[in-house]
Amino acid sequence: MARRVISAAIFGYFALFAVLILLLGFRWHTHRKAPDQPIAFSHEIHVGKLNLQCLFCHEDADKAMTAGVPSMKKCMDCHVAVKTETAGVQQLTEYWNNKEPVPWNRVHRIRIREHVHFSHKRHVSAGVACEQCHGQLAAMPRVRQVSSLKMGWCVSCHTENNAPTDCLICHR
């Protein structure tokens, strides 16, 4: 009897933690990595099905530090005619008509962005494929951050490809 109680207690104790960990993991996965977006824009469709090139929308990725979010005009160029019946496009059109930009939620958050000066341009022109950091967007209905974007992650890639590892490359 007593032994059963004890073993039950022990089991319960660990089960509790197992559940907690699972919950945390789940929350982390959804919340931290893939925020909700005002419009359910799907890279799966645009990249996967229609296989648009990344640079088609993110024009500045090979010109500037920031890859840049495509302008509303860019969206409307097509969606003025295409798929106008879908809810998402209707939302988009509404924004456009009110002359409001869509308040997208940032996916890639870096805690000390202040101190890191990362240039998309340099990486793209060095031939780093977008997928290498951003993952298979073709398979992402909803974008999430696939790479840690932590310093160690950067440094190890730089050392592998003997890219410079001088601190001043990113920090200044």
């Binding site: 932590k150 310093m151 160690g152 440094v155 190890s156």
Partner: protein, 446 residues
Amino acid sequence: MTHKTAPVPAAAGHPASEARLQIERDVISAMQKPGLAYWALVGFCAMVFVVCLLGAWAWQIYKGIGVGGQQNPVGWGIYIVNFVFWVGIAHSGTLISAVLFLFRSKFRASFNRAAEAMTVIAVMCAGMYPLIHLGRAWYFFWLLPYPNQRLLWTNFKSPLEWDVFAVSTYLTISVVFFYVGLIPDFAIVKRYTKGFSRHVYSALSLGWVGSKRQWRNYNMLYALLAGFAAPLVLSVHSVVSWDFAMGLVPGWHTTIFAPYFVAGAIFSGCAMVLTLCIPMRKIQKLERVMPIDHFEKLAKTMLFTSMIVGYAYIVEFLLAYYSGNVYEFGIFADRATGHYKYQYWGMVFCNMIVPLPLFIKRLRRSLAYLFITSIFVNIGMWLERFVIIITSLSKEFVPYAWGTYRPQPVEISITIGTFAFFFMMFLLFAKFLPVVAITEKKEEVH
């Protein structure tokens, strides 16, 4: 003033066992139930510690290190002064217990417990300061070489990095040494206590029964640890001194710093032992176990180191003058005549002049006089660190960048806080642990 009591000589006809029992009783009686005054004192210290140190530190972390007085060019303030001061205090502990143990010098037994306790507490105090003084204390762990995702390592060229190791090593060794020394005494104390505390002491005594075999192993271990600890007396404070000697700041960048600092450390250490033991001896009626001539021996050590330190002061000046280097000599001229001249001459007075009368035997044997002297020396040694650190920084190479530093309330409050912490811990020690190594004292009796 206490009347003079020599240790009971075996030749006096009494059976030695009686004398041993006497020592035991004396020490244990010092541990009987503490009175209200005691608790009030401990409580007060605790309060000061929490408010002045923890409170002020929290404020400093919230606002920024700028609440202190540090500035350009004086980047290090009295935090570092205190750090060096406490590390210095910590020294006598190892010296008295380890080195004197190895030299088999008898008078050690009266003080070693107190000294070791003092060491452990002082190192704790010292250890706080490097953290308190960091601009971003919350990243202190970056100073520890641990594998991290950033793939970054610490700079082993930096004297500050050496400090991390020196101090942590010193703390570990002195704690172990302290505890091992206590084991047999715990066993004795256990016999005099009952109830809960009895359990505690027996647990602490690790089942010590005093069998022949236990004693053999114990002595072996103790000797080993002593051997371990002895070199630290030299190494730790040398490393601390290199914090400065490795820099090119005029007034820091000199080769005599290591011996100079070690001597200073022992000097201040002895002084602090006196400051603590003389009242303790009176209050806890330990006249029999802490005979005067042991104090006298300590006084001699102090006098000796005082002269080494004094010598260093003079040599520094001569070196600076003889170097003919304007930066070097500029600093020393400024120390003697400049903005901080009072601190400088105060230091000279306390550390060189005040101890001199100890050449007179009568004064050496007067506890009152020793006590006063020791207080002066403590102050003097604090000033010494202040002079070395602050004056050197305030007048470096570039005249445009000269500036003066004045400690700010937060720094002072934190300083007071550590003293409160120190005394609180020592009070607790004085009541709950045998303040004199009973077993060793017994060995003195034949």
